[in-house]
């Protein structure tokens, strides 16, 4: 379990001022869960998840990862191994000169046998469809290829919790679907928890649980169904309805009686067809 207790954190800016990013945040994430973290720009999402793998440590409060305390330098290696993270900008985590070396870097540091490293690199590159670019230098990758590489690097570590900080934002929709499918399978088999920071409300709608951040606080911990029926909360948190729910809403406003329970494209299609056949 990831346990965050009364966590506060402020950045020190270059001119010496304090910039509060998190104030008194408490929450829990269970193994095997699928959680989305959403909220306005600057609300503290990235700062929060950087605490979950010990990249930054609490100034107040504490963060525990499967019983290990991120503030204790001696437990931090275990924390990093347990929680994998893919950053908003992949340049921050690409370390080796070629694609293959970069993915192998983490597993090598774990001291795994060579065969196992090869296997993991292969599986991870396959998941992000970069096998063909295995031998390419990393600096010669396109923006989206770099994001794919960063995901492969994290996946090869086989973490118990994987955090994606807008990690597929520059991958084409079909590629994104394929990558998320692999990750979801791991999550569905409870091998790995999947924690996604995203501005894509359709993606957030597919999570089991949503954490809504607003100005250094947790505004709400809820389910997608509940969140997207709360216009005031959405407004306050800088969010919008996901496209499918918004379509359903606009149809309702034009007197098509689509029930509020409709969440997915399939449900919307079925419901419209039913309405048409009774017409």
């Amino acid at each position: 379990m990831l346990l965050v207790e009364e966590l506060s954190y402020a950045y020190r800016t270059q001119e010496g001022a304090n910039c509060p990013a998190l104030m008194n945040v408490s929450l829990q994430i269970q193994p095997g869960e699928r959680v989305a973290i959403v909220g306005a720009n600057g609300s503290g999402k990235s700062t929060l998840v950087k605490h979950l793998n010990g990249l930054i440590v609490p100034q107040k409060g504490k963060v525990m990862v499967d019983g290990y305390c991120t503030s204790d330098p001696q437990q931090r290696a275990q924390v990093r191994r347990t929680v994998g993270m893919v950053f908003q900008n992949p340049d921050n985590q690409i370390v080796a000169p070629t694609v293959e070396d970069d993915v192998a870097f983490g597993p090598e540091n774990l001291g795994l046998p060579v065969d196992m490293i090869k296997q993991r690199v292969h599986t991870a590159l396959q998941a992000v469809d970069l096998l063909g670019a295995r031998l390419r230098p990393v600096h010669a990758l396109s923006g989206g290829q770099k994001q794919r590489l960063a995901i492969a690097g994290a996946l090869a570590m086989e973490p118990r919790y994987l955090i994606l900080d807008e990690a597929t934002s520059m991958v084409d929709p079909e590629g994104k679907k394929e990558i998320l499918q692999v990750l979801r399978q791991l999550q569905a088999r409870k091998i790995m928890a999947l924690i996604q920071i995203t501005h894509d409300m359709q993606e957030a709608a597919e999570a089991e649980r949503i954490i809504v951040m607003g100005q250094q606080h947790v505004l709400s911990e809820t389910t997608p169904e509940r969140l997207f029926q709360q216009p005031q909360l959405l407004q306050q948190a800088g969010l919008t309805q996901p496209p499918v729910i918004s379509l359903a809403d606009r149809l309702r406003r034009r007197n098509v009686p689509v029930p509020e329970t409709v969440q997915t494209m399939k449900e919307l299609v079925d419901c419209l067809c039913q309405l048409r056949s009774v017409n």
Binding site: Y11, T13, Q14, E15, C19, G39, A40, N41, G42, S46, Q88, N89, D91, A133, R136, P137, A140, L141, S142, G143, G144, Q145, Q147, R148, E166, S169, M170, V171, D172, P173, E174, G175, K176, H199, M201, Q202, Q235, G238, L239, T240, P243, V244, L247, R250, L251, R254, V256, M265, L268, V269, L272, C273, L275, R276, N279
Partner: protein
């Protein structure tokens, strides 16, 4: 004069063992003013293509004509100075264009290079920050690299807006923006186009952005341009979407799925009202009934 690409080709590290194809033999005319979107898989050549449109990259073969600039492999960088001001570019990763010590200086960089008075620079900076939803007082003294991801994107956008370019090239401009911020930026782009006849060339993986904004779409695949045409013609044509492996905007997906169930729907365009109109019309119209004989009011239907 249209932006004209003739056999435009760019091979990275050409002539070395590391040679890597960027784009190949692209022929294209873009008639201005227009909003054009470029889509395609990761690595298909989108960024390479647009970097030729403000002289950041020079072709290794072929040429591009943009306003008075003709650029081919022999063109000297020195003659392209004015082009950078004419055509503003927002990079895929904002970190690649943020380098000054403060947010203010970063946004002021472009205008200062245009030899404007400091008071005019100040006016433009504040205006640009407001346009992208940044509070000028709260963050002007902050380092642009010590901001959240979405804040960085906004600073990068503001830096280009402050130059008031005639054309803008936006490489995934809404990535990293929160949902309301995204809508505000889309609206801003549309109004720049409508008010100032600004030409906008944008790359996006968000098909809803494109449906809302773009008149025309270019589809890239493995360095080649495989489609160029009206965005409605592309997205409403299921066969083309399948052929190119493209996901439709959500509203259009709904149209295609209802069509697959036998609904006769023909939206007039991609905007939400047009999509909803078509769906509601399709609802009241049976598959084989010509539209002229369909009942006009749904209330009639219940009668024996």
């Amino acid at each position: 004069m249209p932006i004209t690409l003739r056999q435009l080709t760019h091979i990275y590290h050409a002539g070395t063992p590391m040679a890597q194809q960027g784009i190949v033999a692209i022929d294209l005319e873009i008639t201005e003013p227009v909003i054009v979107a470029i889509i395609g898989q990761t690595g298909s050549g989108k960024t390479t293509l647009i970097q030729h449109m403000n002289g950041l990259l020079k072709p290794t073969d072929g040429s591009i004509q943009i306003d008075e600039w003709h650029i081919d492999r022999q063109t000297k960088t020195a003659v392209l100075q004015g082009l950078y001001q004419r055509v503003g570019m927002v990079f895929q990763y904002p970190e690649h264009q943020l380098f000054e010590a403060t947010v203010y200086d970063d946004i002021a960089y472009g205008p200062r290079n245009m030899n404007l008075s400091e008071s005019e620079v100040a006016e433009r900076v504040v205006q640009a920050m407001t346009m992208v939803g940044l509070d000028p007082d709260a963050i002007r003294h902050r380092s642009p690299l010590q901001l959240s991801g979405g804040q960085k994107r906004r600073v990068a956008l503001a830096g280009v807006l402050a130059m008031r370019p005639q054309k803008m090239i936006l490489d995934e401009p809404t990535v990293g923006l929160d949902p309301q911020g995204r809508e505000a930026i889309l609206q801003l782009i549309r109004s720049l186009h409508e008010t100032w006849q600004m030409t906008i060339i944008l790359i996006s993986h968000n098909m809803d952005d494109i449906a809302q904004l773009a008149d025309r779409v270019i589809v890239m695949k493995e360095g080649r341009m495989i489609y160029e045409g009206a965005s409605a013609a592309l997205f409403l044509d299921q066969a083309k979407l399948l052929q190119f492996g493209i996901t439709a905007p959500y509203g259009v997906q709904l149209v295609h799925q209802l069509r697959a169930k036998g609904w006769p729907i023909e939206p007039q365009g991609l905007n939400e009202e047009q999509i909803l109109d078509a769906i509601i019309e399709g609802m009241h119209r049976q598959t084989d009934t010509p539209s002229s004989t369909r009942p006009t009011a749904p209330a009639m239907e219940g009668e024996p």
